[in-house]
Each structure stands twice: as C-alpha cells, then as structure tokens.
Symmetry: C2
Subunit: 320 residues, 2 copies
Amino acid sequence: MATKPYVIGIDMGGTNTVFGVVDARGHIIARSSIKTQTHKDVNLYVDELCTEITKIIDSIGGKDLIRGIGVGAPNGNYYTGNVEFAPNLPWKDVIPFSKMITERIGIPCKLTNDANAAAVGEMTYGIAKGMKNFIMITLGTGVGSGIVINGEVVYGHDGFAGELGHTIAIRDGRPCGCGRKGCLECYTSATGVARTAREILETRTDDSLLRNIPIDQIESKDVYNAAEKGDAIALEIFKTTGTILGQSLADFIAFSAPEAIVLFGGLAKAGDYIMNPVREAMEENVLRLWKGKVKLLFSSLKEADAAVLGASALGWEIEE
Amino acid sequence: MATKPYVIGIDMGGTNTVFGVVDARGHIIARSSIKTQTHKDVNLYVDELCTEITKIIDSIGGKDLIRGIGVGAPNGNYYTGNVEFAPNLPWKDVIPFSKMITERIGIPCKLTNDANAAAVGEMTYGIAKGMKNFIMITLGTGVGSGIVINGEVVYGHDGFAGELGHTIAIRDGRPCGCGRKGCLECYTSATGVARTAREILETRTDDSLLRNIPIDQIESKDVYNAAEKGDAIALEIFKTTGTILGQSLADFIAFSAPEAIVLFGGLAKAGDYIMNPVREAMEENVLRLWKGKVKLLFSSLKEADAAVLGASALGWEIEE
C-alpha cells in the first residue's frame, strides 16, 4: 500500500465547485462544495476553497495522507496549470489555479479541463481501466472530449488538444457558440437535442407529445420522456442526433484507432434511443478495417461522482 | 558517435522496392532497387531483396555498421511487422515482412506504412526535427497521414491509426476506392485534382487550356502547367482543392493541437496555387484558440529520397 493512500479531486464548475478525498479504488471518503459564482475576486474564491479543503483533509487524518490534488476546470491547461479565459467562470483572465492551490495547501496540484479529467477518471477507476487507447466523449450542455493514446491523455503542443465537440459535423450548419458553424456540439449536446426538437416541431405539423410544452422551453429530458411514451418525433430526434454523432465517431476512429469510445453525460442516459443510432451510424461510416472492432461504451462512474473522481485521478500522477 | 553509424531504409512500392544505407544526418550513402511486381511468390521477392541488400551492406563495410532496418510499406503494421492485405502489392495476405527480413539478414527490422514512415523521416532528418507534436499529410496518388504526439507516431490500438485521407471531407460526396463516399482522398490527392478538373470541364463551357487535353487523360500536372499560364479554371481547381484540405486540417488541429502540419508529395509542389487556399481555409475554419498558431510547412526532404529516408528513420529506434 502506498504511504499516501488518498488524492483530492476538485471539480470547478460555473455554479458550484465540488471536491472530495478519494482512495485508490475510486471511493469518495469525504466531500464538500462551495459556490463558484459568489466571488468576484479570484483570491477570495481560492481562499474559501482552500479553507474548506483543509477542513476535509483534517477530517480524514491530515495532509500527510494526501498524495496530490487534481483539478478539472473549463479551459484548464495541463501544461501551465492555468485556467485561461473560461467563458463560464466569473474570472475572465489567465488564472494560475494550480500554483495558487499548491501554495495555500502545501500539496502538489495538477489541473486539466473537465473532459480530459473525465478520461483520466475512466482510465483510473472506470470502464477504461487498463485501456491504453480510447476516446472519451462527454455529452452535456456542450460536447467535450479526452483522447488517450498509449495510456496518456493527449494535450498537444499547447495543452488544449481534444476539442472534438468543435470539429465540423455539418459544414455551414447551425451557428455555434464558438463563432463558427456546424460544430458537433451544436447537434449532439443536450442543447443540440433541444434545438433539433424545435427545428422539427416548427417546420412540420405531425402530432407529438412535445407540442404540449412551450417550444422555447423544451429540454433534452422532455424529448427523453416523450420517447419513453413512444412519441415518433422524439424517437426521430434521437435518431438524427445519434446518426450525426456516429458519423463523427467514425472519423475520430480514423485518427487514433482507439480500442473503445466511451460516452458520458446526461445525453448518454437516453440509452438505446440514442445509442442504437450512434452505433449503427458509426459502423456504417467507419473505414472497413475497423468495422466491428471498436467498442462503444458508457461510462461506469456514477454521474454525481464522476467529475470529482476524474479530477482526483490526476492526483495519482504526482510522484511520492 | 554511435558504434553502428548506419541504418537501412526500404520503401516497398507497388512497382519498385527502393532501399538504401543512410547515415545519422540523413545522407543516403548507398542505394539500389528491385522490381516488386515480378515476384508472384513472396518468398522469392524477399530472397531477391535480401540478396541485393546484403550486396550494398558489403559495399559499405559489412553489417556490423548497421544499427537497424526500417521498412515503409502500404498497409504496414508497426506492432506486428506484417503487411496486411495491401491492395497495391502482388500478395493479398498477411505477410510477416519484418520477421522475414530479420531472419535472412540478421539485423533487427521495424516496419510501418509509408505515411507514418514519412513522419518519422521528417522528425529525424527534415523540417520537423525537434518537434514533438505534428501531423504529416502526404498528397500523392492517395492521401496518407502520420500523426506524431509527444514525439511518437500514433499507431493506435491495432497499429493502423492515422488514416486521415479517409475522414469524410464532403458527406455523401464522391465515391472512394475504400467503398465509402466523400473521403478527403477523393478531393485532395493527385487523382482527386484530376477528377475536379473533369467535373468542372464537363459541367461548364468557359474556355480553358485544359480543353486541349482529352478529358479522360488530364492529370494534376496538366492542371499545374495550365495554372502556370494563368488559366482561370486551373487556378479554380487548386483553390477548390486547397479549400477542402484546409477545412479538414482545421478539424485535425482540434484533435491533437499540433505545432505544425507538414505537407509532402506531388501535389504540395503546386506551391502557392494550392498552399494559399489551404492556409486561408485552415485559418478561417480553425477554432479561435488556434488561429495564427499552427504552422503549415512543406517537407524539406528531396522527394526522390524521402521514402527511403522515412523508412530508414525507423532503424534508429533499434536499441544498440
């Protein structure tokens, strides 16, 4: 057994920052959270965060038991430990979080973006344990990705590799928040599903349970609920979404020839409604040599724990 | 200085197999070749190849001076050392070339496909020397790619990663030799350029120097010659081709965030006619965070030497 049996994971979200102490088997043995948005001054935010982390460290026996701290944060850069110009955080600048946390707590800290952290988490505690080559796709409000090659996350030349949500799924398609058009994220995120729902309902007249909801309030979970009741339009929305994702996955396979693609996030919970079309489109569109070879998997981590687990997994990279 | 100062590179092509002895600075100090196609029995082919290689080894001072042998071959698998079901070679099967060569010559041998070999060559002797993250795109009869991440070629789970010529550039586009539609290779290879020429000439009536050539005999070098004379259609063909390639490169950047993209092959010689639209489309389509950041480079290796140099570079991976 390692002399330092625990790591700490910090999941920095736009609304809340959640953190926990995690053991080598992926159990969160202590957890807490603070509000992210209430602090306009990033120093006060980090002060509160470190005060609270110190409390849970003390509660489990002190910092000599902690091997390292891992942070998953939007626009997090693994090489620098900075969060750089994150649109969903209150601080629009380059913030050296990793350094700030290490200085205040006295434990080494590594940081990356949330999707990369999810990939490390899946490799350390989850369904990708033992896999050297896989691609993690997170299907949430946006679409993120973490690419693992030879057992290591791909960070690229600048630390920002793996933005597969911003590869073009449909040339000159829907406008994306990134300023371009037709990104995968515009179609296969939760918001993309809602957009597809609105497009179909607005341009057609066939009946649907979704017509009972004000059109600008439809969310992806409404589409799921309608699909559960056999609603034809809801099923069509998932089929369209899954087909676009499967087509893109076929291209991603040509890049890194992964053993598996692991899906995670709210949308993946739509189960067969989306997974069947994803699998079908992926198999139909992939180059012959990979047909039937690449596993399409769900994350095996509990959704409530996954972000903290993913971030914490970076902590094991710290040398004892 | 290494005790074994040389490596051998073997470029296995459909028509000829070219090989040479190479020093650490990328000079080919002895070279020769044999016909690939004349041997229906692969054992006879390897016998002749190894006999000829032994001759040039003897001519430079014997095999104690050779560190390793590298082979670039279509459908070559780095992990197994096999060539598997190569459509352009006379032997339609799994051929354990690496093992066969090592057994006959008594020098360790590594093998990969031609585009991966080109990437290793560029990293060892060429313009990518010292780069840890770049993507090599070979624009020849087909479109190949070699992806380097953290200083290593990406082979993926099965050894076949990096088939970027078979990512979809235009959904439901031109039929591709691979059985699918719209692959990048259908547009940005030399044959793709000729197809674009035929399409434009057949569907339009405007004047062009290309109309002096029987339409089914137009090659990409004819388009280049016409462009040199200011022919508007020829220039448009290169612009269309370059735009499609630039759009795809923008997506490749989102995958691995490379320091550079290195182009190689006949088509890249069309110079600014194609490079300007490539660069323009790449910059216009890439995610904001990479705008102006990723270098677009030409190979710096002499085209006649590049394949042998690329293959030979694998030889330096052999431990002394």
